[in-house]
Amino acid sequence: MALRLPSQFSTPRHPRHDGHHPRRPSRAAVALSWRRSLAADALASSGCSSSPLANPSSPSPGKSHARPLVTCTAQAPAAANLAPGTPVRPTSILVVGATGTLGRQVVRRALDEGYDVRCLVRPRPAPADFLRDWGAIVVNADLSKPETIPATLVGIHTVIDCATGRPEEPIKKVDWEGKVALIQCAKAMGIQKFVFFSIHNCDKHPEVPLMEIKYCTEKFLKDSGLNHTVIRLCGFMQGLIGQYAVPILEEKSVWGTDAPTRIAYMDTQDIARLTFVALRKENVNGKLLTFAGPRAWTTQEVITLCERLAGQDANVTTVPVSVLRITRQLTRFFEWTNDVADRLAFSEVLSSDTVFSVPMKETYDLLGVDSKDVVSLEKYLQDYFTNILKKLKDLKAQSKQTDIFF
């Protein structure tokens, strides 16, 4: 099994012409069409790949953006080879992106529920010790180096993928090429379940590279034939702490936009909890779930809430969305700032008054979860502020110094 893999990966770019899939485009063409859709003239040029989507049952996007055709080129027979081996324990899972905001909560949750957790972590100078301290097994691999992936998948039943590239690296490297390699590996090695975290509305905003990539990955995963669950997320409450809560407490200026976009933030702990409920439900298999918080908030509302809870006014620096958009346009002119442009692309979404939320009733019913158990943003931030203010008070009482300003 393992011996066969290298040959497979050594030629990922060769088109496979077998009788079963006559319409399957080559890998190179996929990459090309994908890149094109990123370009400014996506509307005009993407007609070439406007063939019907590989899976007709999938909801086709209502927009005029044609999707690049992506298909999994992994070999299916490899999975069948596994039959006579030792069965893999269903409690063994691999978490990709375990050091991230969501990833670490997923790891925690999994460990707490008694799973054997393996974490795929990039080799780095300061290793992720906290994962080891919790009792997870850390393996070093890099999604952008496909040859490192297969070894990490040995003996794994379920892969949970919460990885996303770091802000400072090219967006495509991990999020597209890495994911494709991971899914192909998973397929080839007979992984029995694959959970992928995507972004809500990613099918409606192909102009944002990250969302487009996520959508393509969803399709790719579907076509791969893996037993999978896709979970679309809206926003993390944890992100608000660094963005708004801490600056307000420090009397630093808070940067916000005047965008009317509403996002239903959700606690990553809740996401992790629901993920594992979904993972164990057989009827969720192959489905697309969207997790959203109880209420959708605009930036301004979040800032007002933080101000109220912190008991102090914030220095709000409001950046109009138009400025962001202009900056994005500017940065796109240069090759070397293209990554920056990619990252600022979300401003395109911000300028529309999209609501990142979805009614959760159905999902709760499907999963058998009580909606009361999901934390609201008010409660979350209130907990945060009460705790942090208490700690600061303690700290102040302990130290002799009285000149600490918070």
Binding site: R89, P90, T91, T99, G100, T101, R104, R108, L111, D112, G114, Y115, D129, D133, W134, G135, I137, P167, I199, V208, G235, F236, Q238, L240, I241, Q243, V246, L249, E250, K252, W255, G256, I263, Q269, R273, R280, N315, T317, V319, P320, L324, T327, R328, L344, F346, S347, D373, D383, Y384, N387, I388, K391, D394, L395, Q398, S399, Q401, D403, I404, F405
Partner: protein, 598 residues
């Protein structure tokens, strides 16, 4: 460094969240304290992207600042002044002052390297914030100050930080999950491992302290219990060989509870006090003098004339033999008659029995059962005393009997339950009624009306808030029938040792263990060996962790299994299922209805 940082570092160990915050703060003082006339006046207004450039400019003019503390103090002053400026509505004047200060500072700037670094830092910061706006919310947490303050919400146990737990059997099916759960909640964990050098890598999290030792070897346990507040015992014999069972399940529990008690006592001696977990000696029968104060009495339950008719005689004596034993022996042939041994208790000055939970008697003899009677009431006026009784049975040979105060019932049903605080007299009564013949080699017809009781000591078991020792036992289900009796016997013997140790205990008897994720199915907590289902290892581990700080779990033994539907005709009792949801504490309501001291 600055004062704020110092304050932070002193408390780093306990409050990583807060200290990281302070670190942040000091950074802020270093950077943002630079005078920013433009951005100050523009508060609330829309600062365009250009906002970056004035900051940069101000950084290049005044960046760097003095050295360490000076700069910070300056900045604090400045902050104060800027605040005042806002309040006093004399911005022009204040600005002048600021500029003066700025000039003063500029004089001290001679380091272009630092200046450049500072300006880059500020630009990065602004750019990061700016570009963050255009992104889908992403957070970049550093590894160290993970979940800064409270993102642990779900796992927050206040006492965990200061508690060290010794896990015995950390590599077992339950133990593996248990250790991880403890680590997640911030406990310090010690693991007792027989051969640490043979431990496979990744078997235990790295921050677990591995102690070499064997529960079968008492001397090796001394180091293991050092510094521990709690013990969780989930080891079990790997085979059904009697020797193994005896060593791990039976003797192992005894050795470990003893080592733990010894450690507690040693600690208490260092503080020149008594361990709150040690037993209180009420009577010790080692010397002839220790028999003083004990009275032998006779009596009969029949108050009428009939009594004399059936009076076939009875006799009893309490004496100290040449072999050094205090023996209470005699016979009762009279119908309805009894003999009893009684003493008024004298407690040490600072002790009262309400801080104790029950009695332990170390006795020997020919295996009769006795009635233990406590007289309670104001000691000044014994006529108001109320009587409480509990029946105890002994074995042939020596044994220790544990009698919790909660098992005493009032003689008159209307009396209030026993209040140990008021107990002043202890009586051991023998009566021929309800004696059961002893099976065994003594075979020959015994006369159940005669008795012999060798007394060694009587002690009181301490009470407490929390459990000290969590023992994972078994119900016997799932073991092959030929071995079951053997295994269960060893486990029960271990349980008994633990109950008599004086430690707060929780004995969990799970059904057959299953390897599956926990928290999926409702659990049934029950007493009395009635359950029939299995349970996942993760659920057992969760119960262990929850029991550590739950006062309802103290001194309880219970069976636990997954929820099931009772068979037809057997639904005599109602099973209450508790869903192990992390949001609510399912253990307290589940255990509060169960019998204590079982």
């Amino acid at each position: 460094m600055s004062s704020a940082v110092r304050a932070g570092t002193t408390t780093t160990t306990t409050m990583s969240g807060a200290s990281s915050f302070v670190r942040f703060k000091s950074e802020f003082l270093g950077i943002a304290s630079l005078p920013q006339p433009n951005s100050r006046s523009n508060v609330g207004a829309r600062v365009k992207f250009v906002a970056a450039s004035p900051t940069r400019a101000s950084a290049s003019t005044s960046g760097g600042g003095g050295d360490g503390g000076d700069a910070d103090r300056d900045s604090d002053q400045k902050k104060a002044t800027t605040k005042k400026a806002k309040a006093s509505e004399a911005p022009a004047q204040q600005q002048q002052q600021q500029q003066q200060q700025q000039l003063q500072q500029q004089v001290s700037i001679v380091d272009p390297v630092r200046l450049g670094r500072r300006s880059r830092q500020i630009f990065d910061e602004v750019w990061r914030k700016f570009s963050g706006l255009g992104q889908i919310s992403r957070t970049s947490l550093s590894d160290g100050d993970d979940d800064a303050a409270l993102l642990l919400r779900e796992f927050a146990i206040p006492a965990a930080q200061s508690t060290t737990v010794l896990v015995v059997g950390a590599t077992s099916r339950i133990g593996r999950i248990l250790v991880r759960k403890l680590m997640l909640r911030g406990y310090s964990v010690k693991a007792l491992v027989r051969r640490p050098d043979q431990l496979p890598p990744d078997a235990l999290p790295r921050s677990v302290e591995v102690v070499a030792g064997d529960v079968g070897d008492p001397s090796s346990l001394k180091a293991a219990v050092q510094g521990c507040q709690k013990i969780i015992y989930c080891a079990t014999a790997r085979s059904a060989i009697t020797g193994d069972l005896f060593r791990v399940d039976h003797r192992g529990v005894y050795n470990l509870s003893k080592a733990f008690q010894d450690y507690n006592n040693r600690l208490a001696q260092l503080r020149a006090g008594r361990s709150s977990k040690s037993k209180l000696l009420l009577a010790k029968f080692k010397f002839p003098e220790s028999l003083q104060g004990w009275q032998v009495r006779r009596g009969t339950y029949f108050q009428d004339v009939l009594a004399t008719k059936y009076d076939a005689g009875m006799d009893a004596k309490f004496e100290f033999t040449e072999t050094g034993q205090a023996v209470f022996s005699g016979y009762v042939f009279t119908r309805g008659g009894y003999v009893e041994l009684s003493k008024k208790l004298t407690l040490p000055v600072d002790r009262t029995l309400d801080r104790y939970e029950g009695l332990v008697l170390s006795v020997g003899g020919n295996g009769r059962s006795y009635v233990l009677i406590l007289e309670a009431g104001p000691s000044a006026d014994t006529t108001q005393s109320k009587l409480y009784f509990a029946r105890i049975s002994t074995k042939i040979g020596f044994c220790r009997v544990r009698v919790p105060f909660s098992s005493f019932r009032p003689v008159k049903p209307d009396d209030p339950p026993l209040d140990p605080f008021l107990v002043h007299t202890l009586t051991i009564r023998f009566e021929p009624r309800r004696q059961r013949p002893i099976e065994g080699p003594s075979g020959a017809r015994q006369d159940l009306r005669s008795f012999k009781l060798i007394l060694e000591y009587i002690k009181a078991l301490p009470t407490g808030q929390e459990t000290d020792f969590v023992l994972v036992s078994c119900t016997g289900l799932g073991i092959e029938p030929s071995r079951r009796e053997q295994v269960v016997k060893a486990k029960r013997a271990g349980e008994d040792y633990l109950r008599r140790s004086g430690l707060g205990y929780t004995i969990i008897r799970p059904g057959p263990l299953m390897e599956e994720p926990g928290g999926q199915r409702a659990l049934i907590f029950d007493q009395g060996n009635r359950i029939s289902q299995g349970i996942s290892c993760a659920d057992v581990a969760d119960i262990c962790v929850k029991a550590l700080h739950d006062s309802t779990a103290r001194n309880k033994s219970f069976d636990v299994c997954h929820e099931y539907v009772t068979e037809q005709g057997r639904e005599l009792y109602e099973l209450v299922a508790h869903l192990p949801d992390k949001a609510n504490n399912y253990l307290t309501p589940a255990l509060s209805v169960l019998e204590k001291n079982t």
